[in-house]
Amino acid sequence: MINPLPRPVARLRPLPLLAAVGTGGLLTLMVLCNAEVGRHAGPLMASLVPHATGTLAAGVALAFLRPRRAGGPAPRWAYLGGLLGAVTVMLTSVTANTALALSGTLALGLLGQVAFAQAADRWGLLGLPRRPATARDVGVMALILGGSAVIILGAGA
């Protein structure tokens, strides 16, 4: 994964970095809300309800904000990202109830997510820019994944 050619390592700018970390904070709040729906109405509703309210919220926001169309037409498959989210919910609701439990499901899920992201950057999958990893990127990955594993698996110890 390490780019064999030496090249300057551009550091991340503060705005995207803070936005990304804050986006992770949103995920914690979202999981909290959806789990509360699930506790009252079951796992299917825990995913169906936020998708329904999310569709409404995004529709209203689009009507008011009217963002400018960014580019040319998108391939048809690009509209199907929502299917993947639905399948993900079904997979994790199965594995969380096996011997893997929630912590194993989370830890393995992080692994799958980062492995896919590395491949996506390396080959520029699905029409997004190529972005080969540098040695610094590998260090960032080791620290964040290692720290996450310590938190997830330490909670069960």
Binding site: G24, A41, V49, L56, A58, V114, P129, R131, S148, G154
Partner: protein
């Protein structure tokens, strides 16, 4: 066990794949537009599952209620998960084109783990030592992402 491990890893890979697909859609529409389609298509798919496997229509027909029992008891704040998810998907689509898939995935994971650890600490959950070590490693990773040339 092997099957479960594969399923859990696949679930994670699908999170990455959906961010990539939504990121591509955002290049044509906008991050908010990509988030709208993501939620609409996901809703239709899950509603189909609810009708086919969950007996949603049967439940509506027999009880006369659209909302399943129990949902009415959920507190109002629990309904905020959808709008928060809209922001989450839009932000991911905006980020992936700017800092790449790996940086997006890792920094979002960092934010999730840091906020989750803070929440657990506020709630007085056990295992403060492990959490502190994990938080230190993650902060080190975020700091390293800020290092290097401008």
């Amino acid at each position: 066990m092997t099957l479960w491990v594969l399923m859990a890893v696949l679930a994670g890979a699908l999170v990455g794949l959906s961010r990539q697909v939504n990121g591509r859609l955002a290049l044509s529409l906008s991050p908010l537009g990509a988030s709208f389609w993501n939620h609409l298509v996901g809703f239709l798919a899950l509603a189909a599952v609810a009708v086919l496997a969950g007996g949603l229509l049967v439940g509506v027909a027999t009880t006369g209620r659209v909302l399943p029992p129990g949902l009415a008891d959920a507190p109002a704040w629990a309904w905020a998960g959808g709008p928060i998810g809209v922001l989450f998907v839009a932000a991911g689509s905006w980020l992936i084109a700017r800092i790449g898939a790996a940086n997006t995935a890792l920094l979002v994971i960092a934010g999730q783990m840091l906020s989750g650890a803070a929440l657990d600490t506020l709630r007085g959950a056990e295992g403060l030592g492990w959490r502190a070590l994990g938080v230190a490693l993650i902060l080190g990773g975020v700091g390293l992402a800020r290092s290097g040339q401008r």
